[in-house]
Subunit: 303 residues, 2 copies
Amino acid sequence: MLPPALYVNMKEFDLLKIVEEFFGHEDILIPAGKHDAAYVRANDKFLVLTCDTVNEKSDFPRFMKAEEMGYMAASVTLSDIAACGAKPLFFLNAISMKEADFDLFKRILIGIKDVCSKYGVKVAGGDIDFSETLTISGFAVGEAKRIITRNSAKPGENVYVTGLLGKAQLCLELLEKGFDRESLPYPESLYKPEPRIREGLKISEYASALTDISDSLAVSAHLMARGSGVKIVFESIPTKHLENYPVDPLELFLYGGGDFELLYTAKHSEDGIKIGKVEEGKGVYLKVDEELKKVEFRGYSHF
Amino acid sequence: MLPPALYVNMKEFDLLKIVEEFFGHEDILIPAGKHDAAYVRANDKFLVLTCDTVNEKSDFPRFMKAEEMGYMAASVTLSDIAACGAKPLFFLNAISMKEADFDLFKRILIGIKDVCSKYGVKVAGGDIDFSETLTISGFAVGEAKRIITRNSAKPGENVYVTGLLGKAQLCLELLEKGFDRESLPYPESLYKPEPRIREGLKISEYASALTDISDSLAVSAHLMARGSGVKIVFESIPTKHLENYPVDPLELFLYGGGDFELLYTAKHSEDGIKIGKVEEGKGVYLKVDEELKKVEFRGYSHF
């Protein structure tokens, strides 16, 4: 139940390269490797399919309640649906426990039910297995009117996020420094991340590119810049909410994970916080005193 | 990597009762708790949704190759689609590994690709996480023209299975007794179980009730009898393939798990092996010398 190492390079992305080599996707309009979820055709609409897995060793912070484990497992899966601007319809889960602990199981289901009810998602089924490591895998099916991915940002647009970042990682770092749960400034961000379903549905009506931020803003922005063939420049990073703690606020905003906000680009938006712009070129940069500093491809990792 | 305990009562089914209490299913035509997979409406057809999870502690027999772990993970999930007489369309997987072991990962994917290619299933996406226990969760989406479940067996029908049972469990028991992999009589049944997709599609055209056999014939028959409000009587259990080994052939056929054949009822069928009949009443029985013996509700468990 220890929190994971914070900032390491992400071998997960190297593993994902193997996946791309392996599977031909001729019938899949957008495979999940190219975006947060896969798009497949369903008559005049699109189905969006995604899965996510979390476990106690890598993903559950210290002092997390069982209900929150279920909540988080469903939330991170539904966040991929939000990243498609899609309406989530169905959720399925596979839970692996050490033993038939009825109380633990019930509390995990309460958390899953809580977040699914909030967003009108039906829990269609599940599976149970037994394992040394408590693991919850989630699978979600959503419906989208159109395809929007992280790969279509256009030069001249602005870059937005749906909320302030770095809050979950701040809490994780404070736990590492010996804080208890009650003293954390943003416990909800760490323990009950919210999938930005409603925001995704609204934003997808006008945005050019959309993705969620699970690993870090830096990782999501790099994937967006690379996929779109553009350069992303952060011009204004709000860090006031991270100040007055023994941490580096800018580092947390850029490289912290776990907030599950959305990152998107549009000519204009009233829905989010403007943090930068899209330009011709490539890479991700931070403007500091009229100078461009490279933003690294790193963030929260599952290691 | 030790094989699991063989014959214990299944707390999994008690856990499943909690799931039923928890989730209202008003928009789901058949929730997965009532059958092997959930049916939801998709225009004039039905989508079938299911998930399954396997891990090295509970599910992977000794000497299993990494490719076979992937193969099994996909197979057991697709078997639920076969149990709906549905056509599997998409598969997603969530793999949790101890570390970024590229060779292991690649070999698991080879197994997943192998079985998905064989049945025309597209791998739409996946997720990677890190855990002490190697775990593979599979999610599948299928398409069905009509709804067929285990809950509509009718008195007067015959009971069939698509193939001989007990072969996987025989191999598992022989491994326990010190046999090596090369000496096993049916290694494919244990290491590379096959989802009966083609059989399911054909059988669903005329059968009344259909399910797959993952835990044991006894468990599947009990769920079918209970769900249909009927009595199932086994009259002819073929055990020749299990004889000449230091095991109880009838015990293996009835209570062994892992073969992933289909169990179905119909007035008449040329596709399977006839093993019994459906009568009015309740419970599952074995006819021995004109006497009915109770078949217990037990089988292979994930404990």
